[in-house]
C-alpha cells in the first residue's frame, strides 16, 4: 500500500515536472502556457493503472477524463475572463474558477455518467 503510494507520488511528480519544465523552456510564453494543461497527471495515472488493473479499468477512467477535460477548459476560460473583465487578483481568480470546474464536472457526472440522483 505505502509502496504503491510512493511510486505514484514519484511518477506523478516526475511527469508533471517534466511537462512544466518544457513549458518554462518555450518562448513565446503564450506557447509555453499550453503546457499548463498538459496530460501529465493522466499519463502517469493511466500508465500505473494499466500496469496494476488492466486496460479496461483505465478506459473507464479515461471516459470520465473527457468530462474532466471539458471542465478544465471552462476553468481556464473562467480565469482568463475574470482577469480580463474584473479587478480580481490572480490568486483569488484561480480559486474562484474552481466553482465552474466543479459545476461542469458535477453536471457531467450526473447527466452523462448517471451519477447519484
Amino acid at each position: 500500500m505505502w509502496g504503491e503510494i510512493l511510486v505514484r507520488f514519484l511518477v506523478g511528480g516526475a511527469m508533471v515536472s517534466l511537462f512544466a519544465l518544457l513549458g518554462d523552456l518555450f518562448e513565446p510564453k503564450s506557447f509555453g502556457g499550453l503546457f499548463g494543461a498538459a496530460p501529465s497527471v493522466a499519463i502517469a495515472t493511466l500508465a500505473l493503472t494499466i500496469h496494476t488493473r488492466g486496460a479496461a479499468y483505465a478506459a473507464v477512467e479515461a471516459r470520465s477524463m473527457v468530462l474532466g477535460a471539458i471542465a478544465l477548459l471552462v476553468y481556464a476560460l473562467s480565469i482568463s475572463w475574470s482577469l480580463h473583465r474584473t479587478k480580481r487578483k490572480v490568486a483569488s481568480a484561480v480559486f474562484v474558477a474552481l466553482v465552474p470546474w466543479l459545476l461542469v464536472a458535477a453536471i457531467g457526472w450526473r447527466v452523462v455518467l448517471g451519477g447519484p440522483r
Binding site: 502556457g33 494543461a37 497527471v41 499519463i43 479515461a62 477524463m65 464536472a105
Partner: protein, 137 residues
C-alpha cells in the same frame, strides 16, 4: 511568431516553484489512485484532468513577472502573464479532451503504449494547431 527554446526563464525561476509542482503532481496522482480505490474509476477519472498544476503555475508566473518589474510594479505585468498562460491552457484543454477520447475509445483494442503515445501526440498537435491558428487570426 516563431516558437523557440529559451533557458533564461529556468535560470530566473526559484527552486520552490519546481518543488511545488513536483509535490502537487505527485499528490494529485496519489489522490487519483486513492479515489479510484474508494469510489471507483469513473470518479477518479475526473482527477486526471483536475487543474492541480495550473493554479500554481499562474500564481508563480504572476509573482515572477511582478518581481522582475521592480519595486514600482503595478501588478499589470504579472496579471498579463497569467492571462497569457490561462489562455494557453484553455487551448491545450481542447487537446486534453481529444487525448481522453482516444484513450477511452482505443484502450484494450490496441497496445496500451501505442494508445497513450498516440493520444499524447494528438494533444500536442491539437494544442499547437489551435495556438498557431489563434496567432494567425
Amino acid at each position: 511568431m516563431k516558437v523557440r527554446l529559451d533557458t533564461k526563464t529556468i535560470k530566473n525561476s526559484h527552486w520552490y516553484g519546481h518543488v511545488l509542482r513536483f509535490v502537487l503532481g505527485g499528490a494529485i496522482t496519489v489522490a487519483a489512485g486513492l479515489v479510484a480505490k474508494g469510489f471507483g474509476p469513473a470518479v477518479a477519472g475526473f482527477l486526471l484532468a483536475f487543474p492541480a498544476i495550473l493554479p500554481a503555475a499562474l500564481i508563480l508566473a504572476n509573482r515572477l513577472q511582478n518581481t522582475q518589474a521592480g519595486p514600482g510594479a503595478t501588478g499589470a505585468r504579472g496579471r498579463r502573464a497569467a492571462i497569457v498562460q490561462a489562455s494557453g491552457a484553455a487551448m491545450a484543454s481542447l487537446g486534453m479532451i481529444l487525448f481522453a477520447v482516444i484513450v477511452w475509445q482505443c484502450l484494450g483494442r490496441r497496445p496500451a503504449w501505442l494508445v497513450v503515445g498516440a493520444a499524447t501526440m494528438a494533444w500536442a498537435l491539437t494544442a499547437g494547431t489551435v495556438w498557431a491558428a489563434r496567432k494567425r487570426g
